[in-house]
Point group: C2
Chain length 342, copies 2
């Protein structure tokens, strides 16, 4: 007897039916899920598009991420890309591929996470379509759309000498959470372990949440655009690496000030004192916070942003005026994942 | 020594660089690839969106599909969803996940197929963004956008009693090709085999091409919309099953006439005489042609469409007025795929 309904046992159509009813509706949807395509409104005659994959192995371990977390993170990381263009997210399409023995309630958990992330981070956004397939590797492919509301898109290339560099959201917390997971939520052979995870979770709630259910400040993207941000992106690969992308695209140097980052360092050390030695590295190089890094004209700093540096003549990124020890130490999605573990 | 550059050996950024330069630009792109998101134009204030996965195993076998074919099919099947809404495809985002040992020139082949399919099937459409990740399972996730050019979207729900039912494109050819592949392009243990495939290919060129590089009539979607089509979809799961979707959504019966399908049957038998016994089944139930099934007011039949049936009072689908032997015999993506084979 098969006690648990799985993707393979109930099939694609019934699984989809159970998932779709849990998904959030999008205010911008003229035609929602159920036809060959959805139709969305684009009031100003343009729309922003971005896409991102979440893949079992390089992007998450099932011992650490509940299905809800996967849906949440898939939505959050994609919504942040729209925010980073200065737009308001409107709709998402979600293509889900999972092994046939995946319980349907696992898929429902992903849908719940998508719904709650949209509601919490970007009210009014919703899922307008998707696809469900069998795959040996659990894969969540999200494409997200956004509305510029009449403003220009904020690219990476607009930073100018004299501008201030600012951040909205966490720095280093997601990477600190991942470091704690690899240090403490593994068994004696270093393999991700659910029981150990549960022991760790109660003591490390904020840092683990930053890794597993990041909450980037989505609305700050429009705020930045309206305030005349010259450049912006979301920090997925670490402050240094992502700042260098703005510097390279804009033909300028970005100098980050560690004095501006003291609060970020303290936040990590407050929850995990043993990370004191690596805390500044985590703040400078840790990825996956999906915070917004924006460049504003001097004298402009909208609510929600705090200064972390300034734009100078030159190229690349400096920290307190000097070369960072390793400006390339960002998040590498191809890190040593082994299909047999986690 | 590593003689072949792979995704793992050259890394994500260099692989992406090599891929992106092979991709087609989109006329509708205001901001193309390279930032957090792309910006597309939506001249009439709306846009159509659809998404689809192509996954190693359920959707293709590497013994049979060259990388070019995978890119081509991913584009073609997605473009058809936009056509089926009555829209012109404008842009695609492509998220690609592949094992680390995948040669970069394999990924370049996928990009070539995407480019050539866009150019051949929907000139002006192009790739506006994407993502590249490591995965144990080769996965191509495409999301596609389209422009309704001021017309209403053509849904599944608009068929009315008295309308004619028409098709643009092949029927059954893709399924006939797949049947030939499973019969002839396998080794003595039934496992997909490249050498056997090459022997088969020269004799079965058209039917195999219909399966591996389908060429749905994308422009016919806008033609149908302009001609006032009441309902439309693309035939991905077989004529019977997809016709039943229009019938169910519209609250009508669709009666298909086998006399209208004689040409489709002859086309299959002409290339593969041994399929004579199953040829009508293939035409009625074979999936993956991605042809357009549309319903028009009587007296309206735009260029490129041919009548296959009519809309009557009732529900479901009949063939020559009678119940089809098995109206559910469509393409099942969860068919017996075994990760160890093919």
């Amino acid at each position: 007897m098969n006690a648990v309904d799985t993707l393979g046992s109930v099939g694609e159509i019934e699984s989809l039916r159970r998932i779709v009813r849990r998904l959030p509706a999008a205010t911008a949807a003229i035609v929602g899920p159920g036809d060959d395509g959805a139709v969305l409104s684009a009031p100003d005659g343009r729309y922003v598009v971005s896409t991102d994959l979440l893949i079992h192995g390089p992007d998450f371990r099932l011992a650490w991420s509940a299905p809800f977390d996967l849906g949440w993170k898939a939505a959050a990381s994609n919504l942040a890309d729209i925010a980073a263009m200065g737009a308001t997210p409107t709709g998402l399409v979600v293509a889900l591929a999972a092994p046939l023995d995946t319980p349907v309630d696992f898929l429902e958990g992903i849908a719940d996470g998508l719904r709650e992330a949209c509601a919490a981070l970007s009210p009014g956004s919703g899922v307008v379509g998707g696809d469900l397939s069998a795959s040996d590797t659990l894969t969540i492919a999200v494409t997200v759309f956004g509305d510029l509301e009449g403003d220009r898109p904020v690219l990476r290339s607009g930073a100018r000498v004299g501008d201030v560099v600012a951040v909205a959201g966490d720095l280093g917390c997601a990477a600190a959470g991942l470091k704690l997971l690899f240090a403490e939520a593994v068994d004696s052979e270093g393999i991700p372990d659910r029981a150990r995870f549960e022991q760790v979770e109660s003591r490390r709630r904020d840092l683990l949440a930053a890794q597993l259910r990041p909450a980037p400040p989505i609305a700050a993207g429009r705020v930045a655009a309206r305030s005349g941000a010259h450049a912006m992106l979301d920090i997925s690969d670490g402050l240094l690496l992502d700042a260098s992308r703005i510097a390279d695209a804009s033909g300028v140097r970005i100098d980050l000030g560690t004095a501006f980052l003291a609060g970020d360092v303290h936040r990590i050390v407050g929850e995990a004192p043993e990370l004191a030695d690596s805390s500044l590295d985590l703040v400078l190089s840790g990825g996956e916070d999906h915070s917004l890094l924006a460049v504003f004209p001097a004298g402009t700093l909208p609510d929600g942003f705090r200064i972390v540096g300034r734009v100078l003549v030159g190229d690349g990124v400096t920290v307190d005026g000097a070369d960072p020890r390793d400006a390339r130490a960002g998040w590498d999605p191809f890190d040593d994942w082994n299909g047999a573990t986690g």
